[in-house]
Amino acid sequence: MYLDEVKTILIDVLNLGDAGRALDAGSPLLGSLPELDSMAVVSLIGALEDHFDIAIDDDDISASTFETLGSLAAFVAAKRAG
């Protein structure tokens, strides 16, 4: 349910522009988006923390969290619920 908001943040932080509009829940992120370098990962975490008012731990920075747009949205949903 957070998919659209997470997608918008991802597009803004990575400056994906129109190319980002085509992303959906199954779109792979880590290793597939060249824009997602280490600075972008850290910026994205910061933007998600600010926007959703959540605290993301170092342990959360895992390959499974950033695997797809859907897994990232599910992670945000779990943080919001927790």
């Binding site: 908001e5 918008t8 943040i9 803004d12 932080v13 990575l14 400056n15 880590l30 290793g31 060249p34 824009e35 997602l36 370098d37 280490s38 600075m39 972008a40 990962v41 850290v42 910026s43 975490i45 910061g46 933007a47 600010d50 926007h51 008012d53 731990d57 170092d58 342990d59 920075i61 895992s62 390959a63 950033f66």
Partner: protein, 276 residues
């Protein structure tokens, strides 16, 4: 009006020399501006925006000094030698140079961690600034250090490394006196400790007008943190103007990113503030 070409030169610092680029004002001089760059890789990624903004302000009659802090850019020293106190001294020297060259009131213009550095340095300047320009200021040095340390965690993630060091263990290593390499930059324990011990943005309200620009992700509302600090500053009587502009985060994007709207908005607030 077209501005004269920028003048590169070296300014004596302690220790070593600092690379500077001075953009002379076109026409009648309206003021002096000292740019305070962000930290590490953010400085490189925002270089184009800083240069374009400096040129735009010079065309509007401001003399703008861009100074590479000790251990960065084309200045002397390695990044691992950089210290917060040296950087503040760099800014004091830059401000003194502008004062001698132009004899005009000073505007401090800081991006990200450069905003905190500018406000911290403003407290020790011989002549306090007339105005402060903040671009997406970092609100807390310790939180910023955590984010910087996370670059190593994120880098390991991208490399597919199984085990990653968290920012907690990296911080412990710094506190034990180790220098750490983070995303290609040597971070000295002294500089890390200075960031951890820095006064937060909320405590650094300057006694002059402030123009504060934010580029919020996903929307045009001011982020909650910026709004909260802004309210606290206003309560203390700061003449604060905050602007939320939809712009890409040009200090982090891997591709060089320019927002002309952001540059125009910045030039406009400074011009309309003239003589205030």
């Amino acid at each position: 009006m077209n501005a004269a070409p920028a003048e590169p030169f070296f300014l004596d610092g302690a220790p070593g020399r600092r690379f500077c680029l001075f953009h002379p004002p076109a026409g009648t001089c309206r003021g002096a501006v000292l740019y305070v760059p962000p930290f590490a890789e953010e400085m490189n990624r925002s270089r184009r925006m800083a240069a374009l903004q400096a040129r735009a302000l010079a065309a509007h009659g401001y003399g703008v000094l861009q100074l590479d802090l000790y251990g960065s850019g084309d200045s002397d020293g390695d990044f691992g030698d950089a210290r917060w106190e040296i950087w503040k001294d760099d800014l004091a020297r830059g401000a003194a140079w502008l004062d001698a060259r132009l004899g005009q009131p000073l505007t401090l213009w800081g991006l990200r961690l450069g905003a905190l550095l500018a406000l911290d340095a403003a407290r020790m300047l011989a002549r306090p600034p007339r105005c402060v320009l903040l671009w997406q200021p970092v609100s807390k040095g310790s939180a910023y250090l955590t984010q910087f340390l996370r670059l190593r965690t994120a880098g390991a993630l991208l490399d597919g490394a199984a085990a990653q060091e968290g920012s907690g263990s990296l911080r412990a290593a710094l506190q034990a006196g180790d220098t750490l390499e983070i995303a290609g930059y040597d971070l000295a324990p002294q500089l890390a400790a200075a960031l951890d011990g820095l006064d937060p943005l909320e405590a650094l309200a300057p006694p002059c007008p402030v123009h504060w620009f934010e580029a919020p992700a996903a929307g045009t509302a001011l982020p909650a943190g910026a709004a909260r600090i802004g309210a606290a500053w206003r309560e203390r009587g700061v003449d604060l103007h905050q602007y939320a502009l939809p712009a890409p985060p040009f200090w982090t994007t891997p591709e060089i990113t320019v927002s002309q709207e952001w540059i125009d908005a910045t030039s406009n607030v400074l011009r309309s503030d003239d003589g205030a």
